[in-house]
Symmetry: C2
Subunit: 315 residues, 2 copies
C-alpha cells in the first residue's frame, strides 16, 4: 500500500475530507456543511466523525496522520485557531489537541492559504518550483509563499498575509482596519461592497436590477460586467489593477519562479486577470519579471485538501 | 588565531576594506574613493590592491576568503554585477571571477542590502533573531529579509527589493519605472527631488534659500524641516508615512521578530521615524505587530563590512 494521509479542509461554508496518497490519488471525498452556527464543539465533533468515516471506508490504520487546513490566523506550532472571521465563536480554539483526543490520530494543522500553497507545490501547478507565490482569491485574499522549497510563515507562524498588504495608503478601508490592502480591492467581499454601493446610485442599471432581485455579491458584479455594465466592469478592472500591483510587489520581494492564482474569484477570468497581468508588468522589476511564470491553479477546489495531505506526506 | 575574513564594501562613493574575525573584532579598516568615473577595470584593480594590502598588514594567508558587498541587482551564484545605478559603466561585470584572478583568493559576492541584513543578523542588532526584516535608508531604499535563519533572495538571487514595492498605485513615479514605490517617497533621491521642486515655488522659504546656496539634497530638506519650514517638514513626514505603511506590509508578509532600520537617511531620526512607527501600527495586523521589535542599526556605516565578513565566516 502506498503512503496515504487523511486530509481535512475546514472552510466557513463546508468541511471536506479526503484520503490522498503520495502520488496525489484521491480515494475518498466527503463534504458536509460547516454549520458554524451550531458552535465550535459541534463543528469539531463533525470533523472527527468525518475522519473516522474516511478511515473506516479506506481501512486506514490508527497510525495514519491527518492534515487539517483551517482558517487563520492560527498558530501551527501549538495547533490553535486564534480566530476565524468566517467561523463565528472560534476564539483560541485548540483544534489540534481536540481532534487528537477525539480521533486518537496525530493531527497536523496549517493556515488554509499556506496549506493551499503547499498543495500547489507538491501536487499542483508548481511541482518542481523552488520559489512560489500563491494567492487565493475568494471571499478574502489569501496568500502562501514558498522560498527555496520552504514555506514562509514567520516567527509565530502567522505569515504570509499577502492580502493585507497595502497597495494604496490612501485607499479604501479594509476589514483588518488598514487602508488600501489589496484585499480591499480584490476579494469577494470588496467587490460585493463596491457593487452594493453602486446599486444605490444611478450609475449601474444592471446592479440596481440585481439589488432589486436579491443580494449583490461578487458574482452579480462579475455578471453585470460581462453583460456590458460599465460601472460594474470598472469594479472588476480596479480589482485586477490592485491585484497586479500587489503581484508586482511580491515578485520584487521574492523573485519567484512562479505565481499561481487560485480561489473561486479567479473564475471571473480575463476581465480580472488581464488588467492584473498588464499591471504586474508595470510594477515588477524587469530582471525578476523575466523569470516568473503566471499560472492558474490546476487543483480547483481541492487545493486545500492536497495541501493538507502534503502536511502529512511531505513533512 | 581566530577565524578571520577579509571584507569589502563597494559603494557608489567609497570602497571600504576590513579584516573581521568571527567574534566581530575589526583589525583593519581602509577606505578609498570608488572613482567610478575611471572605469570598471580601475575600480576592480583598486579593490584587489586593497585586499592585498589588508592581507599583508594582517599577515593573512592565501586561503582566507574575501566577502564582497556590491550594489545590485547582482547574481550571487554566478558572481556577476548585472548593473549598478551608482557605478556608471557597470554592466554584467563578472566581479567575483575578476577579483579571484587578481587576488588568488576565493571571493564571495552579495547584494549590498542583503549582505547588510546578514551583518545585523550575525554581528548587530538582530543577533539570535530567526526572522528579520532589514531596511537600509540611503540614496535608495534597500532591503534584506531573513526567514527562519535564512536569507531570502529568490530564484535568481535578486530578492528582496523591498524598496520597489508600491504603497500607492497612484503615487509618484519611481526610478524603476513603477508608481508609488516606497523608495519614491522614502529615500535620499526622493526627498531631494521633492525638495528641489518645492524650492522653485513660494511654499518653502528655507528650501528656496538652500537652492540659492547650492544643491538641495535630502540633508538640506531635513535641516529645513528641523528649522521649522512647514513644507520641508511635510516631505519628511510623508516619507515616514510611506515607510511605516511599507513596514506594515513586511510585517504582515513575514511575521518577523524584529525590524532593523539602517542607512544614513535614518539619521534624520524622530521626524522620519515617529510617523513611520505610528503608521506601522495602523497597517500591521495586531497579532503580528505584538511580536515585532523595531530597532535602529547598531553597526552604523560598517553594516556592509560585517555582512561581507559573515558571507565568509557564517556560510
Amino acid at each position: 500500500m502506498s503512503n496515504v494521509a487523511i486530509a481535512v479542509d475546514l472552510g466557513g461554508t463546508n468541511v471536506r475530507c479526503s484520503v490522498i496518497d503520495d502520488a496525489g490519488r484521491v480515494a475518498f471525498d466527503a463534504r458536509q456543511s460547516s454549520d458554524a452556527a451550531e458552535g465550535v464543539d459541534a463543528v469539531i465533533s463533525r470533523i472527527a466523525r468525518m475522519i473516522d468515516a474516511a478511515a473506516t471506508d479506506q481501512q486506514i490504520g490508527a497510525s495514519v496522520a491527518v492534515g487539517v487546513a483551517a482558517p487563520g490566523p492560527l498558530d501551527p506550532q501549538r495547533g490553535i485557531v486564534r480566530y476565524a472571521p468566517n467561523l463565528p465563536g472560534w476564539d483560541e480554539v485548540p483544534l489540534r489537541d481536540r481532534l487528537e483526543e477525539l480521533t486518537g490520530r496525530e493531527i497536523l494543522l496549517g493556515n488554509d492559504a499556506n496549506v493551499q500553497a503547499l498543495g500547489e507545490f507538491h501536487f499542483g501547478a508548481a511541482q518542481g518550483v523552488r520559489d512560489l507565490v500563491y494567492v487565493a482569491l475568494g471571499t478574502g485574499f489569501g496568500g502562501g509563499v514558498i522560498s527555496d522549497g520552504k514555506l514562509i510563515d514567520g516567527a509565530g507562524g502567522l505569515g504570509a498575509e499577502l492580502g493585507h498588504t497595502t497597495v494604496n495608503i490612501a485607499g479604501p478601508r479594509c476589514t483588518c482596519g488598514a487602508l488600501g490592502c489589496v484585499e480591499a480591492y480584490c476579494s469577494g467581499w470588496a467587490i460585493a461592497r463596491h457593487g452594493q454601493m453602486l446599486a444605490g446610485t444611478d450609475r449601474s442599471p444592471a446592479l440596481a436590477a440585481a439589488a432589486a432581485a436579491g443580494e449583490v455579491d461578487a458574482r452579480a458584479v462579475a455578471d453585470a460586467a460581462e453583460d456590458g455594465d460599465a460601472a460594474a466592469a470598472a469594479i472588476i478592472q480596479q480589482a485586477g489593477l490592485a491585484l497586479g500591483a500587489a503581484l508586482g510587489n511580491f515578485v520584487n520581494i521574492f523573485n519567484p519562479q512562479m505565481i499561481v492564482i487560485g480561489g473561486g474569484l479567479a473564475e471571473i477570468g480575463t476581465p480580472l486577470l488581464e488588467p492584473a497581468e498588464a499591471t504586474l508588468k508595470q510594477f515588477a522589476l524587469h530582471d525578476m519579471l523575466d523569470g516568473v511564470e503566471l499560472r492558474r491553479s490546476r487543483l480547483g477546489t481541492r487545493t486545500g485538501l492536497f495541501g493538507a495531505a502534503a502536511l502529512v506526506l511531505k513533512r
